[in-house]
Symmetry: C2
Subunit: 387 residues, 2 copies
Amino acid sequence: MENFVLESPTKIIFGRDTLPLLGRETIALGRKVLLVYGRQSLKRNNLHQQICGYLRDSGLEIIEHGGVTSNPLLSHVRQGVELAKKHEVEVIIAAGGGSVIDSAKAIAAGAVVKHDVWKFFSAKKGITAPLPVGCVLTLAASGSEMNGGMVLTNDEKRLKLGAGNKKICPRFSILDPTLTFSVPADYTAYGAVDAVAHILEAYFNASGRNTAIQDRFMEGLIINIMEACEATLASPDNYETRANLMWGATLALNGWARAGLGITGFPMHLIEHTMSALFNTPHGAGLAVVIPAWMEWRLEQKPEKFAQFAARIFNITEGGVTERARQGLQHLRAWISRAGCPLTLKELGINESAIPELAANAQPQAKIWRLPEYDIDTICDILRLSR
Amino acid sequence: MENFVLESPTKIIFGRDTLPLLGRETIALGRKVLLVYGRQSLKRNNLHQQICGYLRDSGLEIIEHGGVTSNPLLSHVRQGVELAKKHEVEVIIAAGGGSVIDSAKAIAAGAVVKHDVWKFFSAKKGITAPLPVGCVLTLAASGSEMNGGMVLTNDEKRLKLGAGNKKICPRFSILDPTLTFSVPADYTAYGAVDAVAHILEAYFNASGRNTAIQDRFMEGLIINIMEACEATLASPDNYETRANLMWGATLALNGWARAGLGITGFPMHLIEHTMSALFNTPHGAGLAVVIPAWMEWRLEQKPEKFAQFAARIFNITEGGVTERARQGLQHLRAWISRAGCPLTLKELGINESAIPELAANAQPQAKIWRLPEYDIDTICDILRLSR
């Protein structure tokens, strides 16, 4: 096990009928609230009215900043920063999925500094004392509700970059699975794929040799997320499977599985972000295509780990190491397909001819994330496996 | 999944060469330190001198309170409270295993109130604003380094009771596996048994129906702790297996596995505590005897869960449900035995005739923990299975 420091500052409030706690949790952080939300999720369940009601009942003043898109945009975050500064907001409440939470985090970090918020993403500035963020989660996917990461698309530069700091971990997150009942099938599956990708990035990229405890934790999560995804798609209002998806996605990227793995990196996310940046591909859909391609490319380098994956996730124990490894990948591909997700660039509407442009677009992030192995040629090789 | 609120306020600093961080972490909490430790562990590795050196180098003033015993005593904690009050201590540093950390927590809670510290354990008073606690862990076992629980033996009343509150969670814990290299074989095994017991209490006592995510997390931990225990006993200076034992034991009782399980309870601990209270049995040794007895008694009520345990921990898939369930228990018993732990009251030196006295001694805790099912007759029935 590699050395690690683990801090989990987010208070998780999980379950049915937990939304009424929003006012009490928020007022402990400040009185003037910037409420950040997207375009769809609050319209369902009458959620916008409920949230504003609970905040106002606690005597909070609300400034609204809706309209976050599913690949959240720097330009919209900049507007949020202006709004937060102008009204001297004290706390940011994110009500939505990962895009909304990431936007809220960026606004929280940007509202207290004089420089442009993009400098956090281009690694020119560090985050020091952001405004506190609280969340009401409406999509099981990104894990942003319990970590210090955020991803933003610079719509001028057509770059999608990630930044992170434990100081922007949400102070609290309300996770009520019933708020995800109305998430449509495609986004339910994209969310599950995103969560599985977060685990696979850690599982196959860990630099440490002894990852016994983390491996079993991650394997259990993958099995649960896959099962919960299929069951939810068959029965979208099943509380228990929605709950497993929600808590599983949070655990997939809250730091606990990664603690002790050593350096891991996010090469699959690196590649997917270019699709979102250039083609506005939904993040989970892009990952559904990148995961099997990246795994096929990676398999030769770590056949034993892939065979372990095949054995523990899919009970594949017959045949040689490489054969078992390949079968495991084939089973994962089949799950992605059964969930209704694309498996090829073509299905995403991306022409093969765009591969060099995608690979070039990934280079700034590869540099910031210190992944020199992922040069243009390598990313082209990987993407060609997803034709 | 049942509703839950999860907070993990303890900062974990894990790995080799992390002890030099002690001064910096401590001074963030206060300048006047009560250093609590036991009788053995600090003598090894020159640890006492190292700890005092790092604290003094950071300009901290140290008041010492050594001599904690392995079933920590109320009388000794009371002395610690007096010392903390007299010197107006600002922070408590626990250097040792669970007994030392539990004592430190009790002193931290007792130092700021006028009433006797035992009232926290007899459930007459609640913990409000304890002094901050920091830990240097030297034994993989109790999980106290990352939770809000503590257990103390009232040496006048011959009662061993537990109390808990998230406010007494350590602020930080330094977990360096090399500090456990010199733990002797018996206590290494007792620690592993304690950690496995913490998981089994949650696994078999959960009131919630859907525990899919937590189950796989717990099953993975049990497998890892069992494997790491055997490997460590064979090779006591193996960093990786000591690391797996240490992190596994912390994860076993830090609240993450329990989140969402509903009410769980600690009936095995309830029964073991009476052995420690009346016969000063080492906690892990007592649990080694209670676990199989309690499981045999419980098996009839939850055969399906026991069969799941048998399948996922020991790959037992042949035969009927009860047969598989029994085989799983038999395998667990074999592991306890291979680890060199006792399996019967007789091996602990406790005569069968003491069973009624043990059962009666458990009643105050059964009442506080709200386990009315565990009346005198039931506990006698369970203990008779360990003759």
